[in-house]
């Protein structure tokens, strides 16, 4: 029997590109729609690679329970680029198909929403412009449209939100992104320097620089067969968790700011500073830039740093749980958060939500548990879950994750003290395995980050794909504000805190 897909139980992994079975599109269609009908499965990457003569489609589906990663592939010959859309069977693939349509002009028959995603310079249809984005329209005397952005009043990234409202009630929200498109994926191919690639990965989304650089470094480690010592793995995990704590505290501050609760805002802002200052003490950058590098590290952990970190955690995390207790027990705050921006479990599954957006709807989707990477492989980990799916759930999840991350860092530091320390400088002159496909996933604070690359016969990267968790989750935000008041949109948006540049690449 012919193999239908490759199944792998490792994260990150590298396999030969030729080892991935290629099937006809019909078989591919049935495979994927069958696979995604299981709620534990979701798609982490689905994209096309232009090869002379045909378009290679690669789809990776991971299972939350069995820890497997399945890779599917099919070829679309240039003459026949009109195929049946998978979106009607598995709505979570809508954005991936939109992207493939935009880049390669593949017509997905039956796709309800084949609109541009991010307007790359080499898109298939150059007549598709920011200015003529086909917004969903409604003809009515009673309803009105409100457009927000792309230039916003606060210091946030550009993105256009178009609401269709009935008075104060939102009936529909459409989010148009792409203003931040920088061609990151192309740059990964054009920039030959290894260090350049690392720095590039750090700038995919400024608030997730550790997450993205970790995903990139893992990918290089795996493709270049670099050995990573236990102590280095621990350090990387600590960096990731520190970033999680810092951003979650900052988000709590921003949530308080949006509902004009000054005390919560200023206290959380001050606490966040403590965390990122510790990161700065460690690696010289408050956002952890330069911390994670392939093969080694420029900033090995030392006893001084470890002690300072423990002291800081004892102080900041305790103080945070104190203020969080106060915030989430105050009636005027709860009135603003409870039952606002609700996403149901069903919606979260259909949109393929990941990270916090999924975990607040009762879906225990966390790569640290399901597809452990780095030292998480040896760590007992249980994802934190909330059930209600509203703004309050997302706020409370942050509180829980902060204390969980605090516990993890303390535990990791305990392990680190016992491990033998090897001080490896970063490896920049690596040789990547030729003709391989590699996939690396890491659970950033926002959710799963997925980097994948394909090399040619000389070991040069010929295709690089980045997927930020926001790519899935923007749709969840659009669904969350339906039938809500328009004045609650900002706090909904803040509770998701999705990345614009991570989506736009």
């Amino acid at each position: 029997m012919n193999q239908l897909y490759s199944e792998i139980f490792e994260n990150p992994f590298t396999i030969g590109i030729k080892e991935i079975p290629v099937v006809d599109y019909d078989v591919f269609y049935n495979n994927i729609s069958g696979m995604l009908s299981d709620q534990a499965n979701h798609c982490v990457a689905y994209y096309g690679v232009e090869v002379p003569g045909y378009l290679k489609l690669i789809c990776c589906i991971v299972n939350d329970k069995t820890h497997s990663i399945r890779i599917f592939s099919t070829h679309l010959i240039n003459e026949k680029r009109s195929v049946k859309s998978l979106t009607s069977a598995c709505p979570q693939l809508h954005i991936f198909e939109r992207e493939i349509h935009e880049n390669f002009g593949v017509e997905f028959e039956g796709h309800p929403w084949l609109k541009p995603v991010r307007y790359p310079y080499n898109r298939k249809s150059l007549s598709a412009l920011m200015d003529n984005y086909p917004f969903y329209e409604i003809e009515s005397e009673e309803l009105h449209e409100v457009g927000v952005g792309p230039v916003h009043a606060g210091v946030i990234e550009p993105g256009h939100f178009r609401f269709i409202c009935n008075g104060e009630k939102v009936l529909h929200l459409e989010i148009q992104l792409g203003y931040q498109h920088r061609g990151i994926e192309k740059l990964f191919i054009h920039k030959k320097g290894s260090l350049q690639k690392c720095i590039l990965s750090e700038s995919i989304a400024g608030d997730t620089s550790v997450g993205h650089s970790l995903a990139h470094s893992q990918l290089i480690d795996s493709m270049g067969d670099l050995e990573i010592s236990d102590s280095l793995q621990i350090e990387r995990c600590i960096g990731l968790e520190l970033e999680r704590i810092a951003v979650h505290i900052g988000d709590t501050a921003a949530l308080c700011g949006d509902i004009a609760y000054q005390l919560g805002q200023v206290v959380c802002e001050a606490l966040r500073t403590e965390i990122i200052n510790t990161t700065q003490f460690w690696c010289g950058n408050r956002f952890g830039k330069g911390l994670v590098r392939p093969g080694g590290s420029n900033f090995p952990m030392s006893d001084i740093i470890a002690d300072k970190m423990l002291k800081m955690l004892d102080d900041a995390v305790t103080r945070f749980s104190e203020i969080a207790g106060r915030i989430y027990s105050m009636p005027s705050v709860l009135a603003r958060f409870e039952d606002i921006g609700q996403v149901t479990r069903d919606q979260a599954l259909k949109t393929g939500s990941v990270g916090m957006a999924a975990r607040t709807c009762g879906i225990g989707r966390d790569l640290r548990g399901s597809h452990p990477f780095q030292y998480f492989k040896k760590l007992y980990f249980n994802p934190v879950i909330n059930e209600t799916g509203d703004v309050l759930a997302r706020g409370m999840l942050r509180v829980k994750e902060i204390s969980e991350s605090g516990r993890i860092i303390r535990e990791l530091l305990g392990f680190w003290k016992e491990k033998k320390k090897f001080e490896h400088p970063p490896v920049y002159n690596y040789l990547l395995k030729p003709e391989s496909f590699s996939l690396s996933m890491a659970e950033g604070w926002r959710g799963e980050i997925c980097h994948s690359a394909i090399t040619d016969e000389n070991g040069n990267i010929i295709h690089y794909k980045v997927k930020d968790p926001s790519f899935h989750n923007w749709m969840a935000l659009a669904l969350a504000v339906r039938n809500q008041e328009i004045s609650d949109f900002p706090v909904c948006n803040k509770s998701f805190n999705l990345s614009y540049c991570g989506n736009d690449l």
Partner: protein, 303 residues
């Protein structure tokens, strides 16, 4: 005349004290008390920019709004001195002068054709409509209590009406004037003057298109409104017969206390959800209604 000048003076310190109180409550030093005043001076020196979609209404609205507020100040008495203008039923004039100012800022917001400003204008009109009964019921209570219908007469006879229950009315009046002032001036919990989120704004979103000179006028209008309500509060708690200099210092103290109360209220609570606002405002009106019923009973008009 003294009242007019005192209101003008206290208005200039008002926003600075609120800001300072908020800063100190959040553990920061905060800007100087005169900072908002300096900002306005800066705005006065700048030119205004008008959007092409706006017309004459938008350009004259800030001036009309401010002059309406100044007209309203004229009927406010101080101590036992009569107000500059005083006639029977002048509190109706007062309320509708403020409403006229508001009306012009609302149509100016609509004039810009922006979807945000339209939303803000609709919210402002709605909430102002709900708060109006509270003010009139309260003033009716006071008229019933004293038997007069002008601010000057009401307040000069407030404490000498011989009614022992007058203390209850000064407390209720003080409380209601704070609430009305907060709502009229778009402060927490109904509106958040500090927010940058257009979709949640009420008053701030209406003045998004105003700049320079016009914006300065709008700011001054808001300060004056604060000081007006501060002086109404002062009038209901301090008997008019006291020594003049004592009166002046108590007036300033009351204004300062009011500003600090506003700052503190804003520091330690979150803002209302938009659809809770009508309920909140109606509560204020119902408290006024209770006061009204009590005065009817006390003056033996019913039962």
């Amino acid at each position: 005349m003294t009242g007019f000048i005192l209101i003008l003076i206290s208005a200039f310190f008002f926003p600075g004290i609120i800001l300072r109180a908020k800063s100190i409550a959040s553990g920061r030093k905060g800007p100087g008390i005169l900072q908002p005043f300096r900002d306005v001076v800066l705005l006065f020196r700048k030119g205004s920019i008008f959007s092409k979609t706006t017309g004459l209404i938008f350009q004259i609205a800030p001036v009309i709004s401010l002059s309406a507020v100044i007209c309203a100040v004229l009927v406010i008495p101080f101590a036992n001195q009569k107000a500059i203008i005083s006639f029977e039923g002048d509190f109706v004039f007062f309320s509708y002068m403020l409403a006229l100012g508001k009306f012009f800022s609302i149509i100016a917001a609509l004039d810009t054709g922006s979807s945000f400003e339209g939303m803000g204008a609709s919210r402002e009109a709605f909430f102002s409509m709900l708060i109006e009964p509270a003010f009139f019921i309260l003033m009716a209570t006071f008229s019933m209590l004293t038997g007069f219908t002008s601010f000057s007469d009401i307040f000069s006879n407030f404490f000498i009406s011989g009614n022992h229950y007058v203390l209850i009315y000064s407390i209720i009046g003080f409380y209601l004037f704070i609430q009305i002032a907060l709502i009229e001036n778009s402060r927490l919990p109904v509106d958040d003057p500090k927010t940058h989120l257009e979709l949640t704004m009420i008053h701030e979103v209406m003045i998004l298109d105003n700049s320079g000179f016009d914006k300065a006028l709008i700011h001054i209008g808001i300060w004056l409104k604060f000081a007006i309500y501060g002086s109404l509060m002062y009038n209901v708690i301090v008997p008019s017969g006291w020594n003049f200099f004592l009166q002046v210092s108590i007036f300033m103290a009351v204004q300062m206390l009011f500003a600090i109360i506003v700052g503190m209220l804003e520091s330690f609570r979150a803002r209302n959800k938009m659809n809770k606002n009508p309920k909140f405002i109606l509560t204020v009106s119902s408290i006024a209604m209770i006061a009204f019923v009590i005065v009817l009973i006390l003056t033996n008009r019913i039962i």
